[in-house]
């Protein structure tokens, strides 16, 4: 028998790719609260997608019930002052929450990651200007910045999304900049550049993948924060125009009839809390499963 030539890679020795996924799944699902959070998020997604089928009444039509009826079999969460069914509005509110969350995370991460990788890759003046600009954005509390921007741009849900996106850009920029700074000193980056690959290609193919684990964790946790911030803004009356349904605005509307029908205010608040809790837990689980070293940092 001829000896096995050295230049043939023995595929048997390479660890099977599936084990990485298995390890991820095992760690991710090892904690009960994380599984609970995941279930809540799946339910939320389901509710938002199938809102039209799930809602027992038209959420926008006044007079579906009498004004301010108590919870009953016909109206499990009662009705608001205009006689709109609270449960239906709650179900439709999940769309607002998820829409604001996902679109803002998308916009903010695209801009934040781009700025962060540029700042980290080209150190010097570019780094200083970008990162100090990010620091100055962070001086404004998120809800305050969103309030100011929303007032400048005008109300409306799309401006709330823009405002929240701008307010959350620095987080992504900081994380990406940090990862880029630590990765770019590696020999394989030098090798990549010495074979003539462009800056853009190096950043995209070799630096960004390293930033993926912390970014995905940050994005998940930001989804919770954004939903909380959107709720705060709509509580103050900024955001979705009536008759649209947003949980924060529902809490605010119900506040006026707190003694008559407390569930009007309690139910949407509980929904906000559950969803934010779920995003935080899933973020925690993702962090532990993707990169436990991030503990305490994110």
């Amino acid at each position: 028998m001829a000896e096995k030539p050295d230049n043939i890679i023995d595929f048997q020795e390479a660890p099977p790719r599936v084990s990485e996924w298995r390890r991820f799944r095992r760690v991710f699902l090892s904690r009960g609260v994380v599984v609970f959070g995941m279930v809540i998020l799946l339910l939320l997604l389901f509710t938002a997608i199938f809102a039209a089928w799930l809602a027992p009444y038209d959420p926008y039509k006044p007079g579906e019930a009498k004004s301010l009826v108590q919870p009953s079999w016909e109206h499990p969460l009662g009705s608001d002052i205009l006689g709109r069914d609270t449960l239906s509005r709650l179900i439709y509110g999940s769309r607002t929450a998820l829409m604001v969350g996902f679109i803002s995370v998308g916009i903010a991460s695209v801009f934040g990651v781009t700025l962060g990788v540029i700042a980290g890759y080209f150190s010097g003046a570019i780094n200083v200007i970008i990162m100090r600009a990010m620091d100055s954005l962070l001086c404004f509390p998120m809800i305050l910045l969103a309030l100011v921007l929303a007032s400048v741009l005008g109300g409306g849900i799309q401006n709330v999304i823009i405002a929240l996106s701008i307010a959350t850009i620095p987080g992504y920029a900081r994380v990406t900049c940090g990862v880029t700074l630590s990765i770019k000193e590696n020999d394989y980056i030098l090798a990549e550049r010495s074979i003539g690959s462009s800056d853009f290609r190096t950043m995209l193919k070799h630096i960004l993948p390293n930033a993926f684990p912390p970014l995905i964790v940050l994005m998940t946790m930001q989804l919770g924060n954004l939903i909380l911030a959107e709720a705060g803004l709509s509580f103050l009356g900024i955001g979705i125009e009536p008759p649209g349904a947003a949980w924060g605005a529902m809490v605010s509307d119900g506040y006026r009839y707190l003694l008559k029908n407390p569930v009007l205010s309690f139910a949407p608040g509980l929904a906000i809390m559950l969803v934010v809790f779920a995003f935080n837990m899933v973020g925690d689980g993702l962090r532990d499963a993707l990169d436990p070293r991030l503990r305490g940092l994110l």
Binding site: V33, R132, P141, S151, F235, V251, S252, M273
Partner: protein
């Protein structure tokens, strides 16, 4: 250390410059002409001849190049002049002198409460990890960072204000006027505002304590026969506090943000509520001033926190 402080100061000045640019130019992005808004709110716009509008524009310096306006604005801020509120017809400085102490009273109380109770809760949870106390505290801290402050406020108003009638549900009284009433009015708002920071501090304290407890020098301290009190309080706690201090610093911004909501829920006449009413009333001079003041405070607190690291942890060497 000195070079670090100097470098950090220069950095802060640079950030401050960007903050002023942001505040000034965000307000300039406004869709409306500030003069028209001003005139529309003070008098009949139709009744005003165009020459008079130009006259006003000149008086406010709005006919000059934008950079000149920016430098004029900066110069007046350094003189402590934040302009005149369109809505209140008062100097913004006077308004701030009324509103700022209210928010400071509310915010500082919450910050201190959150810091002390948070550190204590985290410490207890870490020392008693796995025991029932930990099993109560840790889930509560998870709830604390997720509960919407305005909703918590409403729940408390419902329970302690409306149903049990233990506490007044709204308003603010200066502690120098009636200390007892002032404190009773502040119990619920301060609790609301403190909850997030308290929970965040407790989580951080618990995890950093658990990490420190495994260090060699803690084992040495035990081995020397030191009492539990001494080991925990002197050796472990002091070092665990360092990351918590960063969080308490970050908490200042969160408290300013939260005060907007809490002051609205509890009808407290502070800066947060002024901010909301000014935004709805298009009183941009006030919005500009509040935004600027809060950003500067957050910036200064972050600077102090960064510099105080060296004092809390002499191992940190500033490169």
């Amino acid at each position: 250390m000195t070079t670090y402080i100097v470098r950090r100061l220069v950095q802060t000045l640079f950030v401050l410059l960007i903050v002023t640019l942001l505040v000034f130019f965000i307000m300039r992005l406004l869709p409306g002409d500030p003069i028209i808004i001003y005139v529309a709110q003070t008098a009949q716009l139709e009744a005003m001849p165009p020459e008079m509008i130009e006259q006003l524009r000149h008086e406010f310096g709005l006919d000059r190049p934008i950079m000149v306006q920016y430098f004029n604005w900066m110069a007046s801020i350094f003189r402590g002049d934040f302009g005149t509120s369109i809505f209140y017809h008062e100097k913004v400085g006077t308004l701030m002198a009324e509103r700022f102490p209210v928010t400071a009273h509310l915010g500082l109380s919450s910050l201190i409460l959150g810091a002390i109770l948070g550190v204590l809760a985290g410490l207890l949870a870490a020392v008693k990890r796995g025991k029932w106390l930990d099993k109560v505290i840790t889930p509560l801290t998870y709830l604390g960072i997720t509960i919407p402050v305005f909703w918590l406020g409403i729940l408390m108003i419902y329970a302690f204000g409306l149903k049990l009638s233990w506490l007044p549900i709204s308003g603010y009284t200066s502690p120098f006027e009636d200390f007892w009433l002032s404190t009773r009015q502040l119990v619920m708002p301060v609790t609301c505002l403190a909850v997030f920071g308290l929970a965040a501090n407790a989580r951080q304290m618990r995890s950093s304590m658990l990490e420190i407890i495994q260090q060699d020098y803690i084992r040495t301290a035990w081995a020397k026969g030191l009492s539990e009190r001494l080991v925990i309080l002197k050796h472990a706690m002091k070092n665990s506090l360092i990351p918590v201090i960063t969080l308490i610093g970050l908490g200042v911004g969160i408290i300013f943000g939260g005060s907007v909501l809490v002051e609205t829920v509890f009808a407290i006449p502070g800066m947060g509520r002024l901010m909301v009413s000014s935004i709805f009333g298009q009183d941009y001079v006030v919005v500009q001033a509040i935004t600027f003041i809060i950003a500067v405070i957050v910036l200064i607190v972050n600077l102090i926190v960064d510099i105080s690291y060296g004092w809390f942890d002499p191992r940190i060497r500033y490169g």
